[in-house]
Symmetry: C2
Subunit: 245 residues, 2 copies
């Protein structure tokens, strides 16, 4: 009775191993992997089994495979294929509009109680320093999305070296933390005083609130609360029993 989950089959064990190497950054995006036959030999399995592993990881988006050129570790995914909660700059660009990022705050400190509640951090983070950010995404010079964010400095200390006035935090994190995991919580809220003013909305206007919690390997990386004017934004999701593989 080992305490870790036993992975019995060869292909499951190898899949897990390779996935961890990619998730941990040991195999960075763009890295060229050995060819199927060599990988099969080094793992001590047949080519069919190795192919099953690589096809699986390719389906999951961890690697890109092409004939002749071989297998490379994939670039960080910009968005989920399932739901269009994108990189906001891309989102605006897709509308053919100009995009700007305005940083309001960037402070290294513990969260206040209300910030802590809004961003839904764990209780153990109540009095610990995080990087706290607020700012506005603008399209055509008009407010498009208000962002409030906490970043786990222990996991991404490099963010302290970045100029967040010119670098969009979400974009930077997306590039720096590939293959992270995210959960979204979506609600409708009535926009209150300060936030209404910032978004240039009447008080009480309906807004879509998206809370995205991103983690990697058990550790939270960033929690972000995005507030979109209700009429200006909608989320779209496709569900089909036939995932495109």
């Amino acid at each position: 009775m080992s305490e870790t989950k036993p992975v019995e089959t060869h292909h499951a064990r190898i899949t897990e191993d390779m996935r961890q190497r990619i998730l941990s950054g040991q195999w960075e995006p763009g890295r060229q992997l050995p060819k199927e036959t060599d990988l099969a030999e080094s793992y001590g399995v047949s080519r069919m089994t190795m192919n099953k592993v690589l096809a699986q990881l390719s389906r999951e988006g961890f690697m890109v495979r092409r004939r002749r050129s071989g297998t490379v570790v994939a670039q960080p995914r910009v968005q989920s294929a399932v739901m269009a909660i994108n990189d906001i700059a891309q989102e605006v660009a897709a509308l053919g509009q100009s995009y700007e990022w305005h940083l309001f705050k960037a402070q290294q400190r513990p969260l206040s109680e209300s910030e802590h509640r809004l961003l839904d951090l764990g209780g153990e983070w109540r009095d610990k320093d995080v990087l706290f950010l607020t700012g506005m995404h603008a399209a055509r010079g008009e407010p498009f999305c208000y962002e409030m964010r906490a970043v786990n400095i222990a996991v991404v200390p490099e963010i302290l070296t970045v100029d967040l006035k010119t670098t969009v935090p979400g974009q930077w994190l997306l590039k720096s933390m590939p293959f992270s995991r995210a959960s979204h919580r979506i609600r409708a809220v009535n926009c209150l005083g300060r936030e209404a003013k910032l978004l240039e909305l009447p008080v009480g206007a309906a807004c879509l609130e998206v809370l995205r919690k991103t983690s990697i390997e058990q550790n939270w990386v960033t929690h972000v609360r995005l507030l979109y004017p209700g009429e200006a934004h909608q989320l779209v999701a496709e569900f089909t029993p036939q995932p495109k593989l």
Copy 2:
């Protein structure tokens, strides 16, 4: 140059064939399929190839496979694993609360212009008869979700024989049209007069509007607009590069 997409490989061709049989209802939920070796023989491929097909369809949720007992066509999926836009009765039950359905309207007629716009039906349905429904989902005797729905009678004529006062339309459709495809559009809206009154909310309260369009085999089955009080409801979605297969 054929006009239909060519599916070259054996496993792709067979997968598509079996999926269509299930989607079209020719193979009904619960049906016992022949064993791998027999299927392989009837399709004229090796058992490995057949296994690849069946494993794929099993991953996609079309069939359930168990050793010894064999392969059966899966029961209709109650919800997407990705996002919790559920059968509302189940949703309420999960909260441990009592659930009731109250039918307001059930009319067979063309939609009015505003109904047509809200439900986002195609233009060719502007003057055609559909089954138009409105009603309220209630939890603990209080309004939980206001529903406005159009049903395509041509696709599901059986719904006209159902007592919609006691049968929840969404539940019935879920059972009757397994393996359909759905898209969701999610917005925040300010609740207006009549709907605010029905939901027992102050005018202007933020609500989550979910528009779900369900189709099967190119035909729309039902479009439904669900209006949830913003504070009372939230949608949750998990995104991970590691789908549980």
